[in-house]
Symmetry: C2
Subunit: 454 residues, 2 copies
């Protein structure tokens, strides 16, 4: 292992030698995820040197392979001319994604250096939220005027073969003289009619389309219902402005899921990569943890209130974290099921009572099973049935609370327009800790004479 | 709110009246996610009746809208003839997904009632793992023999217009007489040459393709590198067997993410829906929780070992759950970052030392910051600097342990071929609980005279 050269060491060597040909050849042998890994392990100086050596086309290929946040950081560091030349080589949606990750000054400086038409288009895209139809659409589509003939289309296809080679050509769109979408044609509709036929005669009129402000959820529903590669997007005046591809919708859903997952785990403020500067990584994580410390203090203060009981029955200290941890797990299960059903549209934020009814039954059954289990453990360990009843009863009660709360929280937070992924887990933990401590210690206080001195 | 009729109540009414036309019209007004929600809220009897009323085509439209697991449960309940008729109306990949969710006896019975050719194809698909190329591919593609002419293709397109209307026709594939993939053509390649030209003369030879056993990761890399709608899939003898669409790869990645998210939250054994029978839901959740109870007992036993210290300094009981909870959060952040980097390919399971080096620095900084914070709180509360040192020191040390462990765990579990999503979180919690309790109580024991009687 120790004497094999890592690929980024090899690349770093080639960069130092400024051997462009070998660099390009070497990068071409890597898969996209390998490229991402190798680039992220280079020193910042090597990264800068690499991009100054590559042609804009090759640099754009590399930029496409690495996660957007990292791509934005890299491009931001470059001189604006170089950044503009590279970004112009990216597909329009990807270019906008990278620009969108930058701060506004940086992206404005780069746009100023870009080809005027590309820059105008990019500015239009940047005005849309990243995951509405306008933000996800691509501008590489083919549209022709209503009075064009089949011959005109074929001539255009032939003349612009090279440019269209990367286009996703499944459909041709037909627009009127105000660019309003009026029809759609499939390629094979062109094969049989006479070449002088006007498109208006053979097109399918009033094709499916979506307004530019459609949400990701609306796009998801559209492609669930219609198995198409893409859908034309129109602005408020019904002018055709782009095409959203179903694969890009799936990709946006993927990104959203990743963000949800990371937030539930307490990684906030965008994605963290281990190649980021240490203090920025540490700061992002701390911002979340320091909020947690406050919530933890609130929860633990319940224990402080019952110090006398605890001092009298020190054995209870063993069970305090068990009861709160276990109910926390039960509650997290309910949070996950609610978040999943919300995202599938199987439950609506207003249906609290339905969720409560469904979770209450689970809470009772699982609370009883787990309470009896832990109660038996406590009884067998110390030989005192009252300890078993206190501990088992507390776990049963707290499981019930936690499951109900966990099931409801995502719905309530969604209604309050808060992010369930961000707030559910710390809120749930705080409440289950407080209640868990309270149940154990108050039950114990109630039957104190039976427990004293344990 | 209370006097509006819910859509499933309306549907249930129509079902009771057996009014087929209105049922179909009503369902067509619903978006896919609304359909899923409405169907899931019907009673089992209504569901059964509904599917016996709908035509196989309409039933298949409904089946497509609801989550696969639920679809499988519904179809399993039907008489096999009815189930077969409905499944034959689904796109091949979706049919196989639904069959794959059933137990083998049920799917075999349904396959026996299906059209022989469809059944044979389905059996072939079922042999593949659900998320390799063979499991994701569709069989609706167009292929022609090498010596076919352009005229032959145009004739076939014209003759089978209706069947092909749902196909994703972006490319035509060219195969030799042993069905081996030899070339690919785009639709507009057919437009200009003479109609008697053989496909072999104009096709692009040796097109990009993937073996049928390619993993989801390989498919993801392929579509990251090549911006195509689909890729032809070949078997071991290079015969073309299907096409994988990029949107289906994104969808499979989406499903995998959902499973990871649910497992991390302790929802295992497939997805849970609140409309499932109560005992099955409760059982699924309990299987995970009862494992947790054992791990919790192990962790809490550390407290039992130090009962004397705790009895002497009862204040410590307040800080035990705080130290273990907070370090658990720090560790979970590291788990999330590692799982994310693993899935992007930015880190490999073997690179433990790299991750340790990166996490150690975060562990030290965040441990110190949080330790000082909590130490100050403890000191201010009780006015004893030694309590602050014990509590703060324990949190700092435990944060360090937890961050290192959290960063490593996903890599180690992946190497051991265990599922990081399933095992990381309970293992991490157990260790951080044990260590947290140990640090607080052993540090306190060491400086006991300074703390006694608090």
């Amino acid at each position: 292992m120790s004497d094999t050269i890592q690929p980024w060491e090899r690349l770093s060597e080639l960069i130092t030698k400024k051997n462009n040909t070998l660099i390009t050849t070497f990068i071409n042998t890597l898969s996209p995820s390998e490229t991402a890994r190798v680039i992220s392990r280079l020193s910042e100086d090597d990264q800068r040197l690499l991009f100054s050596l590559l042609s804009p086309e090759d640099a754009a290929d590399v930029i496409e392979d690495i996660p957007e946040e990292q791509a934005a950081d890299l491009v931001e560091e470059m001189p604006s001319e170089q950044a503009a030349a590279i970004l112009e080589e990216l597909p329009s949606d990807h270019m906008v994604d990278v620009l969108g990750e930058m701060d506004e000054d940086a992206s404005r400086a780069i746009l100023a250096k870009m080809d005027r038409k590309d820059a105008k288009e990019a500015r239009m895209f940047l005005e849309y939220a990243a995951d509405c139809a306008g933000g996800l659409m691509i501008s590489e589509f083919l549209s022709y005027k209503t009075d064009a003939t089949i011959q005109d289309v074929l001539y255009d296809l032939q003349a612009n073969r090279d440019e269209y080679i990367d286009y996703h050509v499944q459909y041709f769109y037909v627009v009127d003289h105000e660019e309003k979408l009026t029809g759609v044609l499939r390629m094979h509709d062109l094969l049989f009619p006479a070449r002088k036929t006007k498109l208006s005669q053979i097109m399918i009129s009033s094709p499916l389309n979506l307004p530019h402000k459609s949400s990701l959820k609306e796009l998801e529903d559209f492609f669930d219902e219609h198995h198409l590669f893409g859908v034309p997007v129109v602005d408020d005046e019904k002018r055709m402005v782009g095409v959203v591809l179903s694969s890009d919708v799936e990709e946006a859903l993927n990104k959203k899921k990743t963000k949800t997952f990371l937030r539930l785990s307490g990684v906030i403020g965008g994605e963290e990569f281990r190649t980021m500067p240490l203090l920025s990584r540490s700061g992002r994580r701390l911002s979340w943890l320091s909020m947690n410390i406050v919530l933890n203090i609130i929860a633990a203060s319940v224990i402080a209130l019952y110090q006398d009981t605890l001092a009298a029955v020190i054995t209870l200290a063993v069970f305090l974290p068990m009861v709160s941890d276990m109910s926390g797990c039960s509650g997290n299960q309910a949070v996950a099921v609610s978040m999943r059903e919300l995202s599938l549209g199987l439950v609506r934020p207003g249906e609290l009572l339905w969720v409560l009814a469904k979770e209450a039954r689970i809470g009772i059954i699982n609370g009883l099973v787990l309470g009896v289990l832990l109660g038996c453990v406590a009884f067998l360990w110390k030989g005192n049935p009252w300890l078993g009843i206190v501990v088992g009863g507390a776990l049963a009660a707290n499981t019930m609370v936690s499951v109900l709360l966990g099931g409801m929280l995502p719905l309530v937070l969604k209604r309050l327009k808060l992010d369930p992924a961000l707030v559910s887990s710390p809120l749930l933990t705080t409440v289950t800790d407080m209640c868990g401590f309270f149940f154990v210690l108050s039950f114990a206080t109630a039957v104190m004479p039976k427990l004293a001195g344990m």
